[in-house]
């Protein structure tokens, strides 16, 4: 079998599995001739995938769900046979906001509940003083970044729509916006947090893995209609991506992987910065403090490549919580069906039996149960749920 594919991606480290699959020849070995197309906005990736200019794409997991539900744009059913990354984002704050938070904090600086409570105090103080609300940058309305920021601050009673401003910024503009005071903080993927720290204008407050133990970040997205028509190509693409992750996760390949990803037509930043992200050892402060987490970004290991419908359910729940859509059993079913572990298993010749899904865990809130979204959502005080 041979097939020619155009695949869109945004220059972020979690496009690694695709880039390595193509540049190391794993895709070619599966009979796939792939042209990787670097894009500048998620809107472009979504539109080009939807109208068939791209056969597949590196896509924000919530955008795949929103597209399948017809939220914010044309309804085009998308399926994700492979998960490109789990976690990988971080919240970076300006030195001034960090100082304000540290003045108020009661507890561990890396405990998200302690920082969220400190944020609530800073917000209250600013309101009393008549200061402008704090502004947080994130990448897209339907993004994990948006939901992670909201989940974190709302846990301490900060209403993300009333008490602070949340604004969308293209990732390459995040660092400048923090430097010139347009935003006080942002939540973004690699490498932008590290770039801000290296420039001395930001401090990494949290890895998002502090907030959610395991959150689906980017997926390999294809149109459902296309997947139905080309099951062999989908399977070959999944196998190539899996080989890509196996290569990436091999410690001996770290330098080569970082070098390939650093190329200007790929991610286009320093190999050393990419290496930090892949190892989960990040400089979090301009003074040179490092912090390490094995869960900072999961590409392949710990079953990260297998899409888990429970993750799609949680993302859908966030869309409901923040008023992007209303709760419906049918929409939940549609959302969960975007994540296709069956296609993943079929590609690798696994039966899929006994592959228990990892329960969804977060630092706050009740246990997440997709079967009782209504109950789960009503346990949160802050939210924009449509009536």
């Amino acid at each position: 079998m041979t097939a020619t594919l155009r695949i869109g991606f945004i220059p972020l480290v979690d496009a690694a599995a695709l880039i390595i699959a193509v540049d190391k020849g794993f895709a070619a070995a599966e009979g796939l001739e792939v042209e990787l197309v670097r894009e500048v906005s998620w809107s472009n990736v979504r539109d080009k995938l939807n109208i068939g200019l791209f056969d597949a794409a590196h896509l924000l997991a919530p955008v795949a769900i929103a597209s399948s539900l017809g939220l914010g744009h044309v309804k085009v059913p998308i399926v994700a046979p492979f998960s490109l990354g789990i976690n990988g984002n971080a919240i970076t704050v300006s030195p001034a906001l960090l100082a304000a938070l540290m003045e108020e904090i009661d507890g561990d600086r890396f405990d998200p509940l302690a920082t969220a409570k400190a944020l609530a105090k800073v917000v209250a103080k600013r309101r009393k003083a008549g200061a402008d609300p704090l502004t947080f940058g994130m990448t897209f309305p339907f993004s994990t970044h948006n939901y992670q920021l909201r989940f974190w601050m709302a846990a301490a009673g900060v209403d993300p729509d009333e008490d602070v401003r949340l604004v969308v910024l293209p990732p390459p503009y995040m660092v400048d916006s923090l430097a010139n005071g347009h935003v006080d903080a942002f939540c973004v993927g690699a490498p932008w947090n590290s770039v801000a720290v290296d420039l001395g204008i930001g401090h990494i407050l949290h890895f998002v893995s502090d907030i959610l133990v395991r959150a689906a970040e980017k997926v390999l997205a294809v149109r459902q209609i296309w997947a139905d028509k080309h099951p062999d190509v989908v399977a070959a693409l999944v196998r190539a991506a899996v080989k890509g992750t196996e290569f990436i996760e091999e410690t001996a390949n770290l330098a080569e992987t970082s070098h390939i990803l650093a190329q200007p037509e790929r991610i286009g930043v320093d190999a050393e910065v990419i290496q930090r992200t892949l190892t989960g050892r990040l400089k979090i402060s301009p003074d040179g403090t490092f912090r390490e987490s094995a869960r900072y970004l999961l590409v392949g290991r710990e079953g990260a490549g297998r899409p888990e419908p429970v993750q799609a359910a949680w993302l859908y729940a966030q869309m409901v919580r923040w008023g992007q859509t209303a709760l419906s059993a049918e929409a939940l079913k549609t959302a969960m069906a975007v994540f296709r572990p069956d296609l993943y298993d079929a590609a690798l010749g696994h039966s899929g039996d006994g592959q228990a899904s990892t329960p969804f865990r977060a630092f706050a809130g009740p246990a997440f149960d997709p079967a009782d979204l209504g109950g789960y959502l009503s346990s949160f005080e802050v939210g924009r749920r449509a009536p």
């Binding site: 500048v40 906005s41 809107s43 109208i51 200019l53 897209f140 309305p141 949340l166 503009y173 992007q324």
Partner: protein
């Protein structure tokens, strides 16, 4: 079309030439209220200040994602803004994405009024792309001419030919080898440098 009826159009494009081409087309078509935003810093604030009915943005612009957020935080805007899309518009979307432009409209604006604007965008964007292509071609032709002059000089010196004879030799060689004169000229220059 009176100024009253003419919808307020914002063009978000970092390319001043392309924006000018589009603006000219829109004015010719009778649209009078057009604002070009080139600076991407605090884009939303600028858009809120203009309060447009229609926003046109090029697809090379990362700030397109910023516009998408306007659907979510519509409280800050006079009216909610929705993108010009419904299921029946797929051919318009395809044409605009291929041309490299996207349109956002204020909810409530009639579809019949948008279609000609989008069509105009598509044709002007395509015209701009063609213009750029021509510019590239002219540049490479100029470059070719310089190379040919240099190769002629080498042939005249080495083989004792006059200018016309040198050119005829280049041309006949190119025809025989089914190559461009520029390519033959380049190989003469390369060879002569190697033999220096």
């Amino acid at each position: 079309m009176s100024a009253e009826q003419s919808p307020k159009i914002v063009i978000v494009d970092e390319s001043p030439i392309r924006a000018a081409i589009l603006e000219e087309g829109l004015r010719e078509a009778g649209f009078t209220q057009i604002v070009h935003i080139r600076e991407m810093q605090s884009l939303l604030a600028r858009i809120y200040a203009v309060d447009p009915d229609i926003i046109l943005i090029d697809l090379e612009n990362p700030s397109r994602d910023v516009l998408e957020a306007m659907f979510q935080v519509s409280r800050a805007v006079r009216r909610p803004i929705a993108m010009f899309v419904d299921q029946s518009d797929s051919s318009s979307i395809q044409a605009s994405v291929e041309a490299g432009v996207s349109a956002y409209i204020v909810d409530g604006l009639k579809k019949e009024r948008i279609k000609p604007i989008l069509d105009l965008c598509v044709s002007r964007f395509n015209a701009f792309a063609k213009l750029q292509e021509e510019l590239e071609r002219t540049k490479s032709q100029l470059e070719d001419r310089k190379i040919i002059e240099k190769a002629k000089g080498i042939l005249m010196k080495v083989k004792g030919l006059n200018e016309d004879e040198a050119y005829v030799l280049l041309r006949s060689t190119a025809m025989r080898e089914k190559k461009k004169i520029g390519e033959i000229a380049q190989s003469i220059i390369t060879a002569s440098e190697m033999l220096k």
